[in-house]
Each structure stands twice: as structure tokens, then as C-alpha cells.
């Protein structure tokens, strides 16, 4: 029996020791130069954060999104979509309604049922499109590493006197394609003050952060819930496709915190090819 016992101990020790990666500090990687160039065409990534003000785990997810933004700079664009059960209006201080028709539609159509959840360029990684925050970082890393196939330029003109916002989007593809691509344009507002449920003391007060700032909030789908076709015919490489929009900024929105994001997506699978953001007062 002694030899069996020794053999078993040796086997256990082998599995235990060979299967261990004990990590020493620092545990967090240092941000590198990931800001993206001014001139060159770079692949940008859209992280959609489905959230709500009574969702206790959402502030930690928003912080994670912020950490990724710090790491990837302008290569990463964040859009917080307030939708679902946790975004419903309740008694004060949770009486702020940040839901939108567009956000509600995406929430239902993409089958978001738990919060926080996210989509990275609305792409499938395995057979999951909507994922928990634990999967955001590696998926963003993968999406950022893809060679760009299209570019977007946004021009905005904002008139403070009548709060009129003019938007011009130029889209350019690097290759000819017969696939259908749509352009979606959205209006975002950053740093909206309000209350937020929270269970992570490292992010803020628990159970409620009363002076929370809701970041990168989707305010409106400028050209509907699913945008419009880039062109009626086949897409030709290096041709500029221009779309123009005009809207009046809601009186409650702070123009200095508003931005326009535009993304091109393939209609066959909804995957986003390229995304761009521009602050309206830039």
C-alpha cells in the first residue's frame, strides 16, 4: 500500500505544481500608446454597455469600460444603452429616465436579459454576441487588432442660439463589396448626473451612489433604430458615401457633453465594420 500511496501523492503534487501560475504584482498591465493616429485609418471598436440605474453590478462594468478606454484611447468608443428592468423609472432618486426607443429596440432584438451586458462591435465571439463584463477586455483586444476595411469621417455644426445640429457623415470602404451595409448615427450625452445602485465599494458608495455621473449615454438614434443603407447599389472601393442629418438638440441636453457616433454594419449579421465619434463642440 505504501508504494501506491507514494505514487498517488506524487501524481497529486505533479498536477498541483505543474498546473499553477502564481502571479506576482503588478497585476494590471500598463497602458501603452494605443491612442490611434490622427491621419492614418485605424480600426475603431464600439463597446455597447447595456445598463440601468438600479443595476448594482453596473458601476463596476462602467469602470471597466473606462479602464479599457484609458488603455485604447480613441480606438475604443463606448456607448451606454439604458434599457430593460434596471433602467425603469422608480421613486426618487431613481426617477431619471435614460431609456430611448432605439435602446429599447436593440435591447429586445439582441436578446439582452442580464445587466450589465455588452456587445463588442456587435460581433460573435464563439456563438455569443451579448457577453458579461468579464469578457469585454479580451474581445475588445481581439476587435482592435483587426485591419480596417472602412473609414468614417464626421463633421458637425452646432448653432447654440437655436440648438440646431447639422451632421455630415462621409463613409469610405477600402474594397468593393456586394454585401449590404447600413449606416447608423446616434447622439450621445456624457456625464449625466443621477443616482445609481452599486454593490462595489471600490467604485463608490453602497448601496446607492447619489452623485453618480452616467457616462456615454445613448440619447437618440438619429436615423432610426437601424439606420439606413450606405448606398442603393454595390459598394465601390474608395468612393465617398455622404449622408447628412439635421436635428434640434433637446433643451435638457448639455451640448458640451454631447457627441455623435456613426457606425457601419453589415445587415446580414449586424456586425460593425467601423465606428467613429465626434463631439459636437469640437
Amino acid at each position: 500500500m505504501k508504494k501506491y500511496t507514494l505514487l498517488l501523492i506524487a501524481l497529486l503534487a505533479f498536477i498541483f505544481i505543474s498546473g499553477c501560475d502564481k502571479i506576482d504584482p503588478p497585476y494590471v498591465n500598463t497602458p501603452g500608446d494605443n491612442g490611434g493616429g490622427e491621419e492614418e485609418l485605424v480600426q475603431k471598436v464600439l463597446l455597447e454597455d447595456y445598463t440601468g440605474h438600479t443595476c448594482v453590478n453596473c458601476p463596476a462594468a462602467a469602470k471597466l469600460a473606462g479602464d479599457l478606454k484609458q488603455l485604447y484611447g480613441e480606438k475604443l468608443i463606448i456607448m451606454a444603452v439604458h434599457a430593460g428592468y434596471f433602467a425603469e423609472v422608480e421613486s426618487p432618486p431613481f426617477d431619471l429616465d435614460l431609456r430611448t426607443q432605439t435602446g429599447n429596440s436593440w435591447n429586445a432584438d439582441f436578446g439582452v436579459i442580464s445587466y450589465p451586458s455588452g456587445m463588442i462591435n456587435r460581433g460573435f465571439f464563439g456563438d455569443r454576441r451579448v457577453v458579461g463584463k468579464g469578457d469585454w477586455a479580451p474581445r475588445v483586444a481581439t476587435a482592435v487588432g483587426i485591419d480596417p476595411k472602412a473609414g468614417i469621417e464626421i463633421e458637425t455644426t452646432y448653432n447654440e442660439s437655436d440648438r440646431k445640429l447639422e451632421i455630415k457623415i462621409d463613409s469610405r470602404f477600402l474594397e468593393n463589396t456586394n454585401e449590404n451595409y447600413f449606416l447608423q448615427v446616434c447622439l450621445l450625452e456624457d456625464s449625466i448626473p443621477g443616482a445609481q445602485r452599486n454593490n462595489d465599494a471600490s467604485v463608490g458608495d453602497t448601496p446607492t451612489i447619489t452623485d453618480y455621473f452616467h457616462r456615454h449615454v445613448l440619447r437618440k438614434g438619429v436615423n432610426g433604430n437601424y439606420g439606413e443603407a450606405v448606398t442603393a447599389g454595390a459598394i465601390v472601393a474608395n468612393e465617398n458615401y455622404t449622408h447628412e442629418y439635421s436635428l434640434n438638440l433637446n433643451a435638457d441636453y448639455k451640448a458640451k457633453h454631447c457627441s455623435v457616433i456613426a457606425f457601419l454594419y453589415r445587415t446580414s449579421d449586424n456586425e460593425i465594420l467601423q465606428v467613429e465619434e465626434r463631439h459636437i463642440l469640437e
Binding site: M1, Y4, T5, L8, I9, L11, L12, I15, F16, S18, G19, C20, D21, K22, I23, P26, Y27, V28, N29, T54, V56, N57, A60, L64, D67, L68, L71, Y72, A108, G111, I113, S114, F125, G126, D127, R128, V131, G132, K133, G134, D135, A137, P138, V140, A141, T142, R197, N198, N199, D200, A201, S202, T206, P207, T208
Partner: protein
């Protein structure tokens, strides 16, 4: 001639083997279909947009196994088209997620394909399937069991875990490897066979591999856990304990902290005819162990942290079930079962059963690792925790007393009282909500009209000032043994703070049982709630409509 002889020999061999393959084999199977047809019911908040076109949910499976001597094999077919409300939408799909082949002898057992396994109490490895929860974390790989000597069992496993219908490829989740050894000293050591004390030792190690592709954190790609266990029994006493330790395993569940995890589970019991006493203690600290560090739902768990609370079966008593908190909890349970003897004053003609159960689970104490880092900050060691200190924060407490009495050949009854404390903010994530403090009482009376016909009446009350307020429930069941049963039931949330939500949840059921087949139909409403099995829970949304359940086995 030689060729003809060879063909005849082969044919005869194949024929005789085929005969064995069919005649000496045993085939078993079981099938189940659960279906729900939904309709709008505005009174309980269900409208056409809630149903969203999915008027019919159907969950079904079929298990077939084949055994020939020491060889066995099997498959399980599943179809969730579309899944019943409350099941994860990722369940939607159909196919054969479970197939296996196995050879078992006295010395060795080998299984290839999908399998379930548990080391000890499961603190570092348990794979299992729970149909009611829609939970299946089976391993797909190989399992080897060797019994090198009497009383010694060694198990080795490796594979990837099931994640709904997602195929394992390109490292989209981790790989699990494990080894377990158990020695029964009384069977192994000569002369100990009839010793008054029986001793079993066990040890196990489990390692998972998952590639680090995270740009933010420097993550361990190989995470190991180790556990040791012991079981001592002497006469009417039994003592069992297991300790587990896991190295740094930052994940979505623990907010990407690098603290080691540990768990301990101990149980002391005494048992003799008419009396049973059990005391259990548990401490869990950062012990979520999944084969995908990014997954934060009920999936891909490598280990299992057993609950030490009573599982209630009556509807209102089960309304607030406890869900295991893998990030940290300290719990105890005391259970006393006593049968007041027949013929005594209290025992009467048939005796009286008394069961007293008390359990409480608190949080662990978490102290900051330094003056500047808040507790549980991601990318740090998280916190420090004194092993023996219990936090004042109570997650769950349940004191219940049950008396079971048979009065005559016609009458019997169960009476139960339960006092409950339920931290709904922690257990269900309803931050800011007050803990539920409830008193629950119930009576269950059965009257046997004749040998085949019986009536059973359940009356329950749940009284609380928190959450949805007071509830009352009644259920009447008529059984024609052994084939038919009919029930009419209602749960009434008469104490809901919002009067518009003081709803009745009525249901009418009938069932038919014949041999190993059972069909049940229910029409009515189902209240929103939580269902937990083994501390693993899923939300059950309110619904209204027709439910069918059909099962059979052979």
C-alpha cells in the same frame, strides 16, 4: 477453399456477436417534455410585448443507454424550442449535447465523451445536470477510475465543460484536469476490517487552463485547487470534514482580485433509531471556480459549494430560498429529528415525528489590504480575512419546526412553523431593499377516504412587512391511487404594498400516472420568484397559461 472457410468463419463470428449484441444487452431510457403556453394577463404584468411572440416554450430530453456486460454507452437528446420562460435564451437549440461510452471492470473504469464526476463534497470539482434549473456543466473528455487495491480508488479526469450549445474550439473556454484519490483504511489495512472506528481519507487536485488574452490584467493561465478530506465514523457518530484551497483566480465573479480562495465544510452527526442530530459548519472565501473567468452566470462552474440549509418543499416556505455566495460566507446548520415513541402520551398510537432545523449564514469579515485601497478593488489582492471571524452581516437565517403526526388509518397531518431572515439585497441583488423578516406557518392534512381515494389540504400563510408583503395559499388535492390526481390551488398576495398588485395566483391541475409514465396538465398563474436547487438558483418570471409535463422511462 481457404477463402470460403475464412468468410464462413467471419460470418458465423459476426452472427454470434450480433446475437450477443442484441440478446444479452440491456437498453434503458427516459423521456421528458415540459411545455408552457403563455397568454397575456395584464393583472400580473404580462402583456403581448412581454411574451414577444414566444407563446409556447418547450423543453424536452431523451436519455438512452445501452449496456452489454462491462461495456455501456449512451446519448441524451435535448430540445429547447423555444426555452420555457426563465431559462437562459442561450438554451435555445436542439441536438445531442451528451454522449458517452464506458468500460468498467473491478480494476479499471474508462469513460470517453461526456460525463459527470464529483471529488469529495465537490468543493473543487463537481459536474452535474439539473433539469429544473437548466443547468449542465458536464465534462467532455476522458475519465479514468482505477482501484489498485481493496479500499483504494483513484480517479483522473480531463476535458472541457458544456456551455449551452457552444462548441469548444479555439480556446473559447478553459480546460479542466483533475485527480482524486481516496483510501478506506478499514478495507486497506489488514486487521482493521472490523475495527470500531472507520476511517476514510481523500485528496484531490484540479487545474484549469485558459489562455490570457486580457489587455488589462496579467492573468494566471493555469489555476489549481487542492482539497483534503476525512471521514471518521464510530458507532452512532460520524464526523466528516473537507478543506479546499485555490490559488489566485481573478474572474468576473470576484471582480478580478488575486486573493487565494479557500473553503471548509464540516459535519458531525449522531444517529440511532428514532433520533438523528446533525451539526454542519461551512466557511467559503473567494471560491468561485469556473472554466471561463469571464462568465458570471450559472454556467461553467468547476466546483460546487454545498448549501447547509433546509430545502423547503411547500410553496410559501420555499418562496425565499438561499443562494450560495461563492465570494464569501460562513454558515452553520443544526438539525434534530426525533420520533416520539408509539404508545406514549405524545406519540399516540402511531408515534409523532418532530424535526427542528436551524441554519444561519453570515458574510465573512473583509479588511482592506492597505490604507489606500478599497476592499475588493480589481487588480489587487482584494482584501484580508480572518478565518475565524464572522461578519455581523447576516445573509440568511431559518428556524423551522415541523411536527408530523398520523392520527388514525384515515387521518394524518404535518404542521410547520418557520421564522426567516432573508437578505434580499445580497441574495437576489435588490440593492437597498430591506431584508425580509417573515413568519410562515402551514398545515398539511390528508384524509384517506378509502384505500384508493384520498384528499389532501394544504393551508399556508407568509407574514412579512417587507418585499411583497403577506401571502396566503391553499391547495386541495384529490388522488385516485395509483393513476389520477386533481388539484386546485391559489396563492393570494393580499398584503402587497401596492394594492393593484394584490393578485391571486390560481392553478388547476390534473395528472395521470400509468406504470413509469406520468402526464400532468396545469392551467393558471405562476407568481414571480426564485427557484434554488443545491444553492444554485434561477429566476422564475410571472406567467399565465397552460403547462404540460410528460415523462416516461423504460
Amino acid at each position: 477453399m481457404r477463402k470460403v472457410f475464412s468468410i464462413v468463419f467471419l460470418l458465423s463470428f459476426f452472427y454470434s456477436y450480433s446475437q450477443d449484441f442484441i440478446e444479452k444487452a440491456q437498453v434503458n431510457g427516459s423521456f421528458q417534455l415540459d411545455g408552457q403556453y403563455y397568454h397575456a394577463d395584464n393583472a400580473i404584468g404580462i402583456n403581448d410585448s412581454t411574451i414577444d411572440g414566444r407563446k409556447l416554450g418547450l423543453n424536452g430530453f431523451g436519455n438512452i443507454s445501452y449496456t452489454l456486460g462491462k461495456f455501456s454507452a449512451g446519448v441524451r437528446y435535448e430540445a429547447f424550442l423555444t426555452p420555457i420562460a426563465g431559462f437562459d435564451p442561450l438554451q435555445q437549440g436542439n441536438g445531442v449535447p451528451y454522449m458517452w461510452a464506458s468500460y468498467q471492470s473491478d480494476f479499471i473504469g474508462v469513460t470517453v465523451g461526456n460525463f459527470y464526476e464529483q471529488f469529495g463534497n465537490g468543493l473543487i470539482l463537481r459536474t452535474y445536470e439539473e433539469w429544473t434549473l437548466g443547468y449542465d456543466n458536464s465534462l467532455n473528455g476522458m475519465k479514468l477510475v482505477i482501484r489498485p487495491a481493496t479500499g483504494i480508488t483513484v480517479k483522473a479526469v480531463y476535458g472541457s465543460q458544456r456551455y449551452y450549445w457552444q462548441k469548444f474550439e479555439n480556446g473559447n473556454r478553459g480546460i479542466v484536469r483533475g485527480l482524486d484519490a481516496e483510501i478506506d483504511l478499514n478495507s486497506t489495512i489488514k486487521g482493521w476490517e472490523s475495527a470500531p472506528i472507520r476511517v476514510i481519507f481523500g485528496a484531490s487536485g484540479v487545474s484549469k487552463y485558459q489562455k490570457d488574452s486580457d489587455p488589462l490584467f496579467n492573468l494566471p493561465e493555469n489555476v489549481s485547487a487542492f482539497a483534503g478530506r476525512m471521514n471518521l465514523s464510530a458507532g452512532k457518530f460520524n464526523f466528516a470534514t473537507e478543506y479546499a484551497n485555490k490559488i489566485n483566480d481573478p474572474s468576473a465573479i470576484n471582480n478580478f482580485i488575486y486573493k487565494e480562495g479557500q473553503a471548509v465544510l464540516s459535519s458531525l452527526s449522531f444517529s440511532q433509531p428514532g433520533l438523528g442530530v446533525v451539526l454542519q459548519l461551512k466557511r467559503v472565501d473567494n471560491m468561485s471556480f469556473k472554466s471561463d473567468r469571464g462568465v458570471d452566470g450559472n454556467a461553467l462552474d468547476i466546483n460546487f459549494l454545498p448549501p447547509i440549509n433546509r430545502t423547503h418543499s411547500y410553496s410559501l416556505a420555499a418562496r425565499y430560498p438561499y443562494a450560495t455566495q461563492p465570494n464569501g460566507e460562513m454558515g452553520m446548520q443544526f438539525q434534530l429529528n426525533y420520533k416520539i415513541p408509539k404508545g406514549s402520551k405524545l406519540g399516540g398510537k402511531y408515534g409523532t415525528g418532530v424535526a427542528v432545523n436551524f441554519s444561519q449564514v453570515n458574510d465573512i469579515v473583509r479588511n482592506p489590504i492597505n490604507d489606500t485601497t478599497p476592499v475588493n478593488s480589481q487588480g489587487t489582492l482584494g482584501y484580508e480575512s480572518d478565518f475565524f471571524k464572522v461578519s455581523d452581516h447576516i445573509f440568511f437565517r431559518d428556524l423551522n419546526i415541523e411536527i408530523n403526526k398520523k392520527f388514525s388509518r384515515k387521518w394524518k397531518a404535518v404542521v410547520q412553523y418557520m421564522n426567516l431572515y432573508y437578505d434580499i439585497a445580497t441574495i437576489e441583488g435588490h440593492a437597498g431593499e430591506e431584508p425580509v423578516k417573515a413568519n410562515i406557518g402551514l398545515v398539511d392534512v390528508t384524509y384517506n377516504i378509502s384505500n384508493r381515494n384520498s384528499l389532501r389540504l394544504e393551508l399556508q400563510g407568509l407574514f412579512t412587512e417587507q418585499d411583497d408583503g403577506d401571502w396566503a395559499a391553499a391547495m386541495l388535492e384529490y388522488t385516485i391511487a395509483p393513476t389520477w390526481f386533481f388539484t386546485i390551488a391559489d396563492q393570494y398576495n393580499y398584503g402587497h404594498p401596492d394594492k393593484s398588485q394584490q393578485n391571486h395566483y390560481y392553478a388547476f391541475s390534473l395528472g395521470y400516472v400509468k406504470q413509469a409514465s406520468r402526464i400532468a396538465l396545469t392551467y393558471g398563474r405562476q407568481s414571480e420568484g426564485v427557484i434554488c436547487i443545491g444553492g444554485v438558483c434561477r429566476q422564475v418570471p410571472a406567467s399565465s397559461g397552460l403547462t404540460i409535463s410528460l415523462s416516461t422511462s423504460f
